[in-house]
């Protein structure tokens, strides 16, 4: 059987008819990628630019902020600086104003002070270096000071007014009191005056015036004065008793016043007694008495009798012992009268002692001394003096002791004559150890006198040893002084201790008459005189002590020494005597006192800030100051001040340039220490320098620091230079090259100088002020005479031109015979 093939079904149509890709699908992302990259690049650039811009803006903003903060801080600092300067300036002006103001009314003071304030405010407003806010700030900050100064000044003006008014009232009251006291208590005018006085006192109290008077005090004073007058006039104790009763009855006097007056009564009572007592004492001393009168005097005193005697002139002396109390009389009996006679006795003894002593000092030999001593034992002498042998013995031993003591003092106290001391000691030995007029030597006496004599003799031996040592010491000290005088005290060692060296220096200095010579001597020795060092250091400490307001003598001495050292320019002496810690102060002092008064200089130093780095700040202006030669004339600070000084006139330029730059530079540094801007400090220094200097020929000269120095320095310079050139005709110097300068700050000595300060040799190159003034006066007279002569000639010429030729002149030109003018 054949097989019939069957239909075989195909698979799934979808599988059989699958879609076929004719190419890969394109990706939009892929094709858009470059464009997107471009976009992204743009975004990146944009973001980067934006970020950069943001950063730069932030940076610029921050920078601007910092610059702004800095500028504002700088502005504030500048404001502070200007404020401080203005404050100082204003305080000084106001202080000066208040010190010189004499207003006695507050209105007057305020008006004048307000003008000062207005000027000051205007000066602030007119500044171009300040912004309106700065000016407003400064003025605002100054306002309390304005108010304080004005208030203080008003208070002072009021106080002055009160003082004046008080003084007037006080003088008025005092005058009336004086007038009233001339009158008796019951006099009508006295009563009227007292009434007026009391009214005046009440008015003064109402007005707050301090007259020192009150109604009660005046009443008490009048009562007291009246009673006091009575007390002084009282001559007896009874009168004083009566006054005492009146005091107790007084209704005006208080207990204290009464007690005071009672004391015065007692005083007067004692005074009366004392006067009588003193009269008696005086009479007793004046009496010419001998030893026999003593008993009678004592008896008179004891009984209160009157004793009548004579004085040495033969005048009568009456002593009424009854005028004093018994106790006083007893003191005469027990003490005063015996003392009078003992004095007479002692006086004789002392004369004996003094006679021998003066003879020994005068050169008496030992033999002469023994002869003097022997003469005291003569009977005439004993009779005349009332002495006996034992008295003379005691006097001679006393004489020996006093001579020995004098010799000891001479040896101990310093320089002495060796021969004189030896002669004195030999005399003592002779008096004590030699027999005199056959008597045993005093040293052999077994009693107290012998003991005393032996003690004296032993001390004589000691004094001789002391003298030898003192001579050796003196010789060494003299060697030291010689070394100082030779300038070798610190070079040659002769075994002196430091203290001994100081003594040698002191001794050598004491031989120099002037401070300048002393400084030169110290400079020659390169030595320190410690007394000066201590003096200068202590002076600095006292000057800087805020509690010290007055300059003591020690400080004055130290300042004189320092000024002399500075003027002489002895740097070695300066270094040796100024301690390193004090140098800043003394350098400032030196600089500032060359311009300012000592008080102002001290005030500035106390205001300075010592921590300020002066040299660093000074660098800002150093180029303007540290100039050489004529470069100075180009500096702004100089030209400004110079034109101000000369008024712009064409005058000779100064040639003492180093002096100018040194002083102005140092002064600038001192002002910088005040915290002032360097430029302002330089300007201030320049102003102050030119304020205190004047141009004299070719130098700028410090105006002498004395009150109202009257002389015209330029004229003095002209006269002295003329004089110098006349005296030195051989010198080839033009007058313009010469000027004058005062020597070492003195106004008394003037020297001819050349080229801005160098001394010129020659005749008449040094003048004292008197001589200079004489020459100027002489020149003035000569000039006046010449001017008068010239004026007379001019006057004659004027008269002649007005009146025509004189008759004689006309006659001279007319021929007397012809009557016609003479032919030429």
């Amino acid at each position: 059987m054949p097989r019939i093939p069957l239909y075989n079904r195909t698979g799934t149509p979808s599988q059989e008819i699958g879609a076929q890709s004719v190419g890969p699908r394109a990706s939009i992302d892929a094709f858009a990628a470059p464009s997107r990259a471009v976009v992204q690049l743009g975004q990146t650039i944009g973001a980067a630019g934006q970020q950069y811009s943001d950063q730069m803006n932030r940076f610029e903003s921050k920078k601007a902020q910092i610059e702004f903060d800095f500028a504002m801080a700088e502005k504030n600092a500048e404001t502070d600086r200007v404020y401080r300067e203005s404050m100082m300036n204003y305080a000084r002006q106001s202080q000066e104003f208040r010190e010189t103001n004499q207003d006695t009314s507050t209105d007057g003071f305020r008006k004048a002070h307000d003008e000062l304030n207005d000027r000051f405010v205007q000066s602030v407003d007119s500044r171009n270096d300040l912004t309106p806010n700065q000016k407003r700030d400064i003025k605002g900050r100054l306002m309390p000071t304005f108010v304080a100064q004005s208030t203080q000044g008003s208070r002072e003006a009021f106080a002055r007014g009160q003082v004046v008014r008080s003084q007037v009232a006080k003088e008025s009251i005092a005058t009336m009191i004086g007038d009233a006291r001339q009158l008796h208590a019951n006099h009508p005018d006295r009563k009227r005056l007292v009434g007026e006085i009391e009214a005046e006192i009440l008015r003064s109290e109402r007005d707050g015036l301090n007259t020192g008077y009150s109604v009660q005090s005046v009443r008490v004073a009048f009562e007291t004065g009246d009673i006091d007058t009575r007390i002084r006039a009282a001559a007896t104790s009874d009168q004083l008793d009566e006054i005492s009763q009146d005091i107790l009855k007084s209704t005006v006097l208080g207990p204290n016043s009464q007690a005071t007056l009672q004391n015065r009564i007692n005083t007067r009572r004692n005074q009366l007694s004392q006067e009588t007592y003193q009269d008696l004492i005086g009479d007793l001393q004046a009496l010419n008495v001998n030893f026999d009168d003593q008993d009678l005097l004592k008896k008179s005193a004891k009984n209160g009798d009157v004793y009548v005697g004579t004085n040495e002139d033969g005048e009568e002396v009456i002593m009424d012992f009854g005028a004093v109390k018994p106790s006083v009389r007893q003191s005469f009996v027990d003490t005063l009268i015996p003392r009078r006679f003992k004095e007479i006795d002692d006086n004789v003894g002392q004369v004996m002692v003094s006679t021998i002593m003066s003879n020994v000092s005068g050169g008496n030999s030992v033999i002469d001394t023994i002869e003097d001593a022997a003469s005291y034992y003569g009977q005439d002498f004993l009779n005349r003096t009332g002495k006996d042998k034992s008295d003379v013995d005691a006097i001679l031993v006393e004489t020996a002791q006093q001579i020995q003591q004098e010799a000891a003092r001479m040896v101990a106290s310093g320089p002495f004559e060796q021969d004189e001391v030896n002669r004195m000691l030999d005399s003592v030995d002779a008096l004590l150890q030699q027999p005199i007029v056959g008597n045993d030597a005093f040293v052999r006496d077994a009693g107290a006198l012998g003991d005393k004599a032996n003690g004296i003799a032993n001390r004589v031996a000691t004094i001789r040893g002391d003298m030898s040592k003192a001579l050796a010491d003196a010789a060494q000290m003299q060697s030291g002084v010689d070394l100082v005088n030779q300038g070798r005290i610190n070079i040659q060692d002769i075994g002196l201790t430091d203290d001994e060296k100081q003594l040698a220096i002191r001794s050598a200095l004491s031989e120099r008459e002037t401070l300048a010579e002393q400084i030169n001597l110290l400079s020659d020795n390169d030595a320190e005189f410690k007394q000066w060092t201590g003096l200068l250091s202590a002076a600095k400490n006292r000057l800087m002590d805020p509690s010290v307001t007055e300059i003591s003598d020690d400080v004055t001495s130290a300042l004189q020494i320092f000024n002399a050292i500075s003027l002489q320019g002895r740097e070695g002496v300066f270094d040796n005597h100024i301690k390193s810690k004090d140098r800043v102060f003394w350098n400032s002092w030196k600089t500032l006192t060359s311009i300012h008064s000592p008080e102002d200089a001290l005030s500035i130093i106390k205001t300075q800030r010592q921590e300020t780095d002066v040299n660093l700040s000074y660098e800002a202006v150093a180029d303007q100051v540290n100039v050489q030669g004529e470069e100075l004339y180009q500096q702004g600070w100089f030209t400004s001040a110079w034109n101000s000084l000369t008024g712009g006139e064409d005058v000779q330029m100064p040639e003492n340039i180093s002096h100018i730059t040194t002083v102005v530079g140092n002064l600038t540094k001192e002002y910088i220490k005040l915290g002032i801007d360097p430029e302002a400090a330089l300007t201030q220094a320049s102003d102050d320098f030119f304020r205190t200097h004047t141009n004299v020929g070719n130098v700028l000269l410090r105006i002498p620091d004395v009150q109202k120095f009257p002389d015209n320095l330029q004229q003095m310079r002209d006269v002295l230079v003329d004089k110098f050139l006349q005296e030195n005709p051989d010198l080839t110097i033009e007058p313009e090259e010469l000027s004058i300068m005062n020597v070492q700050g003195s106004v008394d000595v003037w020297r001819i100088v050349r080229n801005g300060g160098y001394p010129v040799t020659g005749t008449s190159n040094l003048f004292n002020l008197t001589k200079a003034r004489d020459l100027v006066e002489e020149a003035n007279k000569r000039a006046a005479g010449e001017a008068a002569a010239e004026g007379l000639a001019d006057a004659k010429a004027g008269i002649r031109s007005a009146t025509g030729p004189s008759a004689a002149e006309i006659a001279k030109d007319i021929d007397p015979f012809t009557g016609q003018p003479r032919m030429p």
Partner: protein, 169 residues
Amino acid sequence: MDPMTIAAGASAVSGLLGFKGNRASARAAEQTAEYNARLAENEAILLGRATTAREAGVRQASDSLAGSQITAISKSGVQVTGSPLLALANTYFNTEEDAMRIRFAGNIEQMNKESEAALSRATGRSQAAGFRLAAVNSLIGAASGVAGAYQQQSLLGLQKDFYTQQEKA
């Protein structure tokens, strides 16, 4: 060069590049979509052709099978009745069914490709529109950046002016 100029320049460059880039992207998107759409359309055409060819092949095989069936029947001397007939009918009907299924499947695939082409174009336009919008946005952004820089600069100037006034006051 001051920051404002730099910022403005950077913004301008950014805007310009953004504008041009987005515009280029828009063009690229449209062109790519068009390209893809055409690919799909081409594939639809190819699918139609393949469907027709496949249907023709089925029918040709069916005709051949029917001929073989008839030949086999004839050789056996059997009348075309009963099972032989059923076999022929089966071939016939199966052929038709397969042809219909092939045609149906081909239609579906073609429709799919046409849809793909349409979708591709729509997507391209849509993205191009987005890119164009972005391009405009870039320009606006650039302008905004320049304005911002100018504003910053103005603020800075005002700040400096203020400081200067304070310093001079």
